[in-house]
Amino acid sequence: MPETLTFYALSGLAIGASALVIGQRNPMYSVLMLIASFGALAGLYIQLDAPFVAVAQIIIYAGAIMVLFLFVVMLLNAPQEDAAEWDRSHPLRPPVVARFGGMLALLLVVQLAWALLRAGGLGGPVAGLGDADVVSSVRELGRVLFTDYVFAFEATSILILVAMVGAVVLARREGD
C-alpha cells in the first residue's frame, strides 16, 4: 500500500511540475520546475528497483543539462512573458499556428494511449519480469548496453557528436 501511495505522489509531482514548466511566465521558474519533474522521475526509477538509472537521471539531467539551461536563461536574461504582449504579437497567436499546435498535442495523446494499450504486462511489478538484482546491477546494465543494444548505443553517440560539431560550427565567428 505505501508503494502505491508513493507512486501516485511521485507521478503526481512529475505531471504537476511538467504542467507548471509550460504554465510559468518566468523562464527561471520553468527551469526549476523541470528539475523538480526530473527529481520525481528519479524517485519513480528507485521504486522500479533501478537505482543506477535513478542516479544517472539526477547526475545527467538534473545535475548537468539543467545547469546549462539555467546558465543560458541567466546569460540571456530572458524577460518575463507579458500577458498583453501575448494578445497582440505572439508568434503562436495566429489561429493557424494555434490549431496546428492543438492537432500535434491531440496526436501525442492518441499515440500515448495506443502505446499504453498495446504494451502488455503493465499490471504486474517490473521486478517480477526478471531477478531484481539483475535489473539493478550496473554490471548487467553495461553488458546489455554494449552487446544487445550496441547499435542503438553507437548510433546515439554519433548523433550527439554530430549535434555537438554542428553547434561548434554555428557558434564559430567568421574569420576564425
Partner: protein
C-alpha cells in the same frame, strides 16, 4: 530490534552533530593556520588561544539584521541558501566512516558506522553534490545584482567543467574495486603489499588522486578556484546581498562540502578506516586523522596559491585536466583487463 533502531538513530544524529562541528572547527582552523602562515597569531582573545572564536562568530551572525534587496526574487532568495546546506548535509549520508562494529558486544549483529549503505553510494554522493550548485546559481540570480549574477554564472560554468574530470578520475578507482559501494571499495584496500606498503588505491592511482583533489577544490569553490566569490573582482560574488543566517549558511555549506570531499577521498584512495597499530574497532580514528590531513592540505593550498585568471581556469579544466583524466581511465581499464584476464 528496538535497540538496533536506537543505535542506528544515534549514529545518524552523531554524524549530523559532527558535521555541524566540523564546519565551526574548520572556520577556526582556517584562521589559525592562515595566521601561522602569515607569521601572526590569528584569533586569540575569545577563550583559551581563541578556541571559542567560532561560538562568538555564530552569535554575531545570528544577531545581525536579515536584509533582502528590494528587487530580489522573494522565493528564490530564501530557497537558495536552504538548497546549498541541504545538499551539503545530504551528500554525507552515503559516506561510511568506520568498520562494522557491535559496540563492544552491545549488539548481536554488527552495525555499520555511517548513515546509509547504498550499493551505488559513489554515484549518490556525486549526484547530490552536483545539485548543490543550484544554491549558488539561484543565489546569484535572485539577488538582482550584477556582481551576484556573475558569481552565479561562473559557478555554473566552473561546476560543469570540473565535474567531468572529477567523475572520470573517480571511475579509475571504481574499475579497480569493481564496485560502486563505498564500503566495498574501502574493504578492498585492507592489508599491505610486502608487509609494509598499505594496499591503498593511492599507490595504484596516483594521477587519479591528484586529478580528484584538483577537481575537488574547484567543485567546492575554494581558492585557487574560488571564482564564484572572487572578492577582488566581484565584491563577494554570489553572496554579496546576503546577511545574517542566510549568509552564514553558504560558508557552512562550503565547509561541509570540503569535509565530504575529504571523506570520500579517504574512502576511495587512502584506505578509509584501515591502518596499522589500531584494531578495526578503532578504525574511525584513522579515518578522522586522514580526513584531517586532507582538510589541512585544502587550507594550506588556499593560503599559498594565488587565484587563477578565469580563462586560465577554463583552459586548464578542458585542455589539461580532462584529457589527463581520460588517459588515466583508459590506462587503468587496459591494465585491469590485462591483469584480470
Amino acid at each position: 530490534m528496538e535497540l538496533r533502531f536506537l543505535v542506528q538513530l544515534g549514529i545518524i544524529g552523531f554524524t549530523f552533530f559532527m558535521l555541524i562541528n566540523a564546519s565551526a572547527l574548520l572556520v577556526l582552523a582556517e584562521r589559525k593556520i592562515m595566521g601561522f602562515m602569515q607569521q601572526r597569531y590569528g584569533p586569540y582573545l575569545v577563550g583559551p588561544h581563541g578556541l571559542l572564536q567560532p561560538l562568538a562568530d555564530i552569535i554575531k551572525l545570528l544577531m545581525k539584521e536579515e536584509l533582502r534587496p528590494k528587487g530580489a526574487d522573494k522565493w528564490l532568495f530564501t530557497l537558495a541558501p536552504m538548497l546549498s546546506i541541504t545538499a551539503a548535509f545530504a551528500a554525507f549520508a552515503a559516506v561510511p566512516w568506520g568498520a562494522e562494529t557491535t559496540f563492544f558486544g552491545l549488539l548481536d549483529d554488527p552495525v555499520s558506522l555511517g548513515v546509509a549503505d547504498i550499493n551505488v553510494g559513489v554515484l549518490v554522493i556525486f549526484a547530490i553534490t552536483s545539485m548543490g550548485v543550484y544554491g549558488i546559481v539561484l543565489a546569484g540570480w535572485s539577488s538582482n545584482s550584477k556582481y551576484s549574477l556573475f558569481g552565479g554564472l561562473r559557478a555554473s560554468a566552473q561546476m560543469i567543467s570540473y565535474e567531468l574530470s572529477y567523475a572520470t578520475a573517480l571511475s579509475g578507482v571504481i574499475l579497480l574495486a569493481g564496485s560502486l559501494s563505498l564500503r566495498e571499495v574501502v574493504d578492498g584496500q585492507a592489508g599491505t603489499w610486502f608487509g609494509v606498503i598499505p594496499r591503498w588505491h593511492l599507490f595504484l592511482q596516483p594521477v587519479g588522486f591528484i586529478i580528484y583533489m584538483i577537481a575537488g577544490v574547484a567543485e567546492t569553490n575554494r581558492a585557487p578556484f574560488d571564482f564564484p566569490e572572487a572578492e577582488q573582482e566581484l565584491v563577494a560574488g554570489y553572496n554579496t546581498e546576503y546577511s545574517s543566517v542566510r549568509f552564514a549558511l553558504f560558508p557552512q555549506a562550503e565547509y561541509i562540502n570540503m569535509t565530504t570531499m575529504s571523506a570520500v577521498a579517504t574512502d576511495l584512495y587512502l584506505g578509509g578506516w584501515h591502518g596499522p597499530f589500531l584494531s578495526p574497532e578503532y578504525g574511525w580514528i584513522w579515518f578522522l586523522l586522514k580526513v584531517g590531513a586532507i582538510l589541512f592540505a585544502y587550507i594550506w593550498v588556499r593560503w599559498t596559491v594565488p587565484r587563477y585568471r578565469y580563462d586560465q581556469l577554463m583552459q586548464f579544466g578542458w585542455k589539461w585536466l580532462f584529457p589527463a583524466s581520460v588517459i588515466n581511465l583508459v590506462a587503468t581499464a587496459a591494465l585491469v583487463l590485462y591483469f584480470n584476464a
